[in-house]
Symmetry: D2
Subunit: 464 residues, 4 copies
Amino acid sequence: MPYGELAALKEECGVVAAYGVGDDLPGLLYMGLFALQHRGEESAGIAVSDGEQIELVKGLGLVSEVFTTSCLHDLNSIEPKLGIGHVRYGTTGGGGLDNAQPLIVRYLQGNMALAHNGNLANTDRLRREMEENGQIFQTTSDTEVILNLVARYRREGIVTAVRKALRHVQGAYSLVLQSNDTLVAVRDPYAFRPLALGRLGDGYVIASESCAFDAMGAELIRDVKPGEMIIIDEEGLRSERLCEQDVPRHACIFEYIYFARVDSVIDGLNVHAVRRSLGRILAQEQPADADIVIGVPDSGIPAAVGYALESGMPYEEGLVKNRYVGRTFISPGQLLRNLKVRLKLNPNRHVLEGKRVVVVEDSIVRGTTSRNLIRSLREAGATEVHMRISSPPYISPCYYGIDTPSTSELVAAQHSIESIRSMIGADSLAFLSMEGLLQAVPGGGNCLSCLTAKYPQQTCQERN
Amino acid sequence: MPYGELAALKEECGVVAAYGVGDDLPGLLYMGLFALQHRGEESAGIAVSDGEQIELVKGLGLVSEVFTTSCLHDLNSIEPKLGIGHVRYGTTGGGGLDNAQPLIVRYLQGNMALAHNGNLANTDRLRREMEENGQIFQTTSDTEVILNLVARYRREGIVTAVRKALRHVQGAYSLVLQSNDTLVAVRDPYAFRPLALGRLGDGYVIASESCAFDAMGAELIRDVKPGEMIIIDEEGLRSERLCEQDVPRHACIFEYIYFARVDSVIDGLNVHAVRRSLGRILAQEQPADADIVIGVPDSGIPAAVGYALESGMPYEEGLVKNRYVGRTFISPGQLLRNLKVRLKLNPNRHVLEGKRVVVVEDSIVRGTTSRNLIRSLREAGATEVHMRISSPPYISPCYYGIDTPSTSELVAAQHSIESIRSMIGADSLAFLSMEGLLQAVPGGGNCLSCLTAKYPQQTCQERN
Amino acid sequence: MPYGELAALKEECGVVAAYGVGDDLPGLLYMGLFALQHRGEESAGIAVSDGEQIELVKGLGLVSEVFTTSCLHDLNSIEPKLGIGHVRYGTTGGGGLDNAQPLIVRYLQGNMALAHNGNLANTDRLRREMEENGQIFQTTSDTEVILNLVARYRREGIVTAVRKALRHVQGAYSLVLQSNDTLVAVRDPYAFRPLALGRLGDGYVIASESCAFDAMGAELIRDVKPGEMIIIDEEGLRSERLCEQDVPRHACIFEYIYFARVDSVIDGLNVHAVRRSLGRILAQEQPADADIVIGVPDSGIPAAVGYALESGMPYEEGLVKNRYVGRTFISPGQLLRNLKVRLKLNPNRHVLEGKRVVVVEDSIVRGTTSRNLIRSLREAGATEVHMRISSPPYISPCYYGIDTPSTSELVAAQHSIESIRSMIGADSLAFLSMEGLLQAVPGGGNCLSCLTAKYPQQTCQERN
Amino acid sequence: MPYGELAALKEECGVVAAYGVGDDLPGLLYMGLFALQHRGEESAGIAVSDGEQIELVKGLGLVSEVFTTSCLHDLNSIEPKLGIGHVRYGTTGGGGLDNAQPLIVRYLQGNMALAHNGNLANTDRLRREMEENGQIFQTTSDTEVILNLVARYRREGIVTAVRKALRHVQGAYSLVLQSNDTLVAVRDPYAFRPLALGRLGDGYVIASESCAFDAMGAELIRDVKPGEMIIIDEEGLRSERLCEQDVPRHACIFEYIYFARVDSVIDGLNVHAVRRSLGRILAQEQPADADIVIGVPDSGIPAAVGYALESGMPYEEGLVKNRYVGRTFISPGQLLRNLKVRLKLNPNRHVLEGKRVVVVEDSIVRGTTSRNLIRSLREAGATEVHMRISSPPYISPCYYGIDTPSTSELVAAQHSIESIRSMIGADSLAFLSMEGLLQAVPGGGNCLSCLTAKYPQQTCQERN
């Protein structure tokens, strides 16, 4: 249950996979999915194989709701050697059980299961071609398109089939796929979405974020490389390139700013450390004459602590989260609707009263959440509210796996900073600079499209 | 879902009440209970009255599980003027729906509902007397004993009946009771458990903690005084004394240290501010030569931040909580059991690696949780672990509303500090002094029995 | 899910009990309750004791909904020696979990559980007296009144306590009660409601109807006698009289006509055989010039078969019941409401078309069901509809355990037979005579109050 | 919840469809499915279209469990003009939500939904061809094969596409299919499974059995003819032939004997009337010297009544069904397992005691059920048990939509009648003759393969 402005953005998915990790492989996938729950709360699924048959459990709801002791027991009954798992956040119009993953292809001989995080750019064209060719689609998901493409080439073996299938595909994908006896993991050439490789005993694990490895008792080896295809089977692990030419790496910068868990390490950087740095640099760039620093839970806290450390002002818990507010909170009647926000996030009057407050937030999307927040801080006694944003203005939608409002709804795409400040009722408002952001996420190779409105133009696939 | 050592202690209950607060009184009680959920996760209930009839909804589970839109709608259908609510954590042997509150007495003319936080000292004797007198009990709760006592005197009017009934009762109670048209709130003469009075529009609200008032949009007036009986009816609010003589106030100190929400104000002190002070004073008394300070979520965080501020060491998020781990988490098989702890609370390797770490915790109860925690911090790379406890050693059980292990299970009752340090595997271990505690909670009048093993001896009732 | 006119009448309860029947006593009680499900669909409960402690499971819903494998397992975990069970149909205003049975009294030493079928005549007066004496009531059920009375005398031992308690009670009751180690079963002196005694292995069973014994693999010994108290404990079974003087037996005649299952034997008569006789005698008394005989499922079928046998007309299945229509059937919208009746009970056009039809029904209560039924028979092609009722006109409410409409709603209390015939649209209408009824239920001693409006005046208790 | 020997046979499905029937089309489909529930208890689904978009609700469980008021409301929100529904009984290995129907194809432009009763003979070959062609299958159902075939030709319009698709298909199918604006219903050329056409207001309805029309308030027009394709769209209804040449009609004889509801009319014959005749002819062919005739509920009752009428012996309710035993009945422990049968079907001792009994059953499949039944009748006092079967011996599996045990499990395929008699413990055993069967189901054109082990050899499709 995310809070704050970035609750308007939805990560679409998280994936996990395991091969040869010993007993209770379904239990380990469950642990991994539990750690990735923040990447998708709508549905969850696990498919496992013993080398010959594939078993699947999936359903709508949280990981804890979909899986019971008895269904994990059932998955274990085939003594699985490999398996994949998925959590999903539904995009507009694409919800429902039909789109829950993994998706399975049931061949007369052999089966296949696929789970996928990302967003294809050319789904519609691909579907149109395939539909004209007589293919049918039972879902509206990109995943089924990829499955169909792989099926087209399957007689050439699963590895060649995946490689050839993905040549047709543009966009963002970090996917895990299993045939009866082989596990394949692929990250698109731009590496838009994260994907990591780990070791557990004599086996291997794959996950969207390394925090899943901690939950599984596994060890992070490295991130899957852009355009890399990892194949794990009886002969061990091998790595192949999807295409010969490289494209510039475009790993999503918002994984650091907002989506990923603070204990994950993505492409070599710890998320918590990045957020702390964002706050420190923000304090350098955009100081404020105030008494205390507070953050918007959960993701704004590390940046707030960093801002406080750098500025010398004390960090305070000015906003208290009710940890029981989740998806099941019933919608109060009209009379009490205004209380709902406060129930989720209560300004701590004692901390705020008579104080000039710096409030650190990750981003501003629509601005309405910030306006409500600032009003409630003032009602709780804050004499000044200085809003500091730990990223540059969010001005353009994401087409690579994050569900974002359209440009017309993005307040920073439509208004000046002074205008936004006035709308949200802050005494001052300032954003982190692009330079500051890149300083906190060194090394380059990150996708900044939502902050620059410039999108990568071509895929290696097209050039093949 | 509490973490850390003090998860071994269970607050038994939270209560809320409202009179004349306008439309959707059940919705307001629901909001209040939601804010008090941390005081009891086992059952929840709301009773309301329109002045003539009483309606009740209660059930096992979280507030969000027990109440649906339609059942709040049903409660609203009688257009209630007053009502009470309750959340409960079951003590050993006393669980189940039977003991869920409020408890109702259905008279042929008029009804009565009661909800109660606390623990009576003389329940067994009172029950024995009443059973010998032919009274029957359908539950094992103290609440039913109080109900029977009130019933004994009810022809003298509800106010006199409550007063006379409570003369027989020893121990801790903060209770709310409604007849068809009158709301009564009472806090025992020692004031063991918290109880606060607030205003909402033209009406009044009562709650275990003031954070419930924030959730209801109400305003804190003051705490209910020791031995005070507040009566609210058509003629407004009046306050009476339960007994003539005063006894020394004994408000539970652990509400500040652990139980209460940080945004609550209890007896004039904000919980967050107290915890921050505890950490500051702890740093003065028990400094450590280390690199970073971390806290055990959730309650240990403010003290850790305070320790960091005072010590000059940076505060870091060294332990990351999985916010989805709740009561529904299925028990993993034997093979994966050791992963469960890490799933709930993951050491952030990046923060800890190569660091000398101060970890601030509220208390040590059994010691096992701390031993696991310290081991996992070391596995994540901490080179030294210095444990600092923001309260004096916990050496004796509570008899006033907190469910605690017996003395034989309390590690500080059985072992020296050095011995505990060795058992939990810390490089150093130190507790806050009693003086430090009293400095952070000024004013006196707090119950320290669990830290001193000295218990208040007498009640005013006995002297009457 | 009963059909037809008598669906307007609700049996209030069924009880079952077992002592010393070997392993899995809770499973046996479950079997027994399953067989008694028709006596109450609203709630179900089982209490068992191992001689020292009592365990209870109860809930709202069908037997199959309330009990799970795991909760029967839990009940078994104490290795129970005795237990009681209950199914309940809620009367107006008395629904809800509070009134589910068995009801338990939890003494400091020893517990007690009680389950009860019947309706007390002097509940209000008894409650008033006890309330004035300071007793409290948490439910609105008669059962709690009896529990309080028993508690009043409990120091004299459970047997004396029950005897003395029941001296205060007037009305109908067939009850089972257990202390920690003793099972007591009592049938009121009038014997209004049925109660039977059976044997299973070395132990004993008690149930409202003997069909429960079949389901438990037990053997019917005999009915419990009017005013008999059966006590079963370590020393075996003994029988006592509740009071010295006899009152005239008044066993409910409608158990034979409608309530009981056809495979039960009540007071020596098999229910199926009685219904068959009712139909035969009805055919003799009220012949019809028609082509076929049909019955209203389920209870009207045996009488219809009897009518057909006697009349020489063929019995046909003219009304087909949908066996899936139960309590969970969702209420169709306004447009489809008229279809609901047909969904439950579909006239079989092929059987009815062009035929003069005798339709045999148990009783007429409000008349509306019969009007709808006759209209649908005509729509399905019946050229004439001759309604024959296998009991005399129902003219007065029951005060002895059956929930009936008030006299003003009983069509036979307000209108002549010819007038009813006209209202329901039958070509002819005739009722069984009182003589016919008594011929089919020989031996006398049945309560006919609902057919005569004459009620028994006095109880033995009053004379004591 | 079927009883008796034929519970070993499972009808695979029931279908329903509606076009232009006015408001609340989803509610009408729900009513129709409710009436067809006996044809499949595992899953249920409804798809509706407003001419542009298709909405689908499906799930595991009974109709009453899958559909809620709110989901019917949701289906209504698009103001549908046409829709289809399905209930399913899962065959071995084909269970689960994946195989629940209707199955949907989601095209970029336009969608399609299909529901199907039957069993294709050449599924494996068709799947293999399509898989080699790159098609993928997400389920193991025949339905997805048909969908893929239709998709292959869809650019030629839905009607041509269905016709061409079905040319590839051999076996049994009664299917309903909808594109956005057109409803198509097809019955295979052999007419193995039933399918009927009805009228409702200005619109049309289709269903597996006419009892669904009664539940929908619709009127039976006629059965869909062998090899007929009915198309309903804005221009009304038209009928086409699937293929030019005729094949001999093979409508399943067991629909009359066992599967269909007694109030259905199939191919002009009422099911109840047929069963009654089967019993009459059985009595002529195989008389018994006995006292009473009883039937095995539910399907054996009409034949028993017929047998009794013809023989002059009285029909009695010797077996009493517990109408609450359904799918949710929990499995009793080992100790009580033998009680389970009696709980479902209780011999009525009073009726049976000292009697020579004729028991009429539909068929004998494995024989075990009959052995248990006969033993329990003897235990209840029957002095002789003469079993009469209202169909010829069942000797060969069905390949046309009924899930049957293999030949090795069919007792009549392996043993002589005398041997079976001995195994089941009957005093005498006799079956209806083939001539007798054909006399009761006049007109010819029925599939008798399971009784003759001769199967139709060719389909018209193959000749095209």
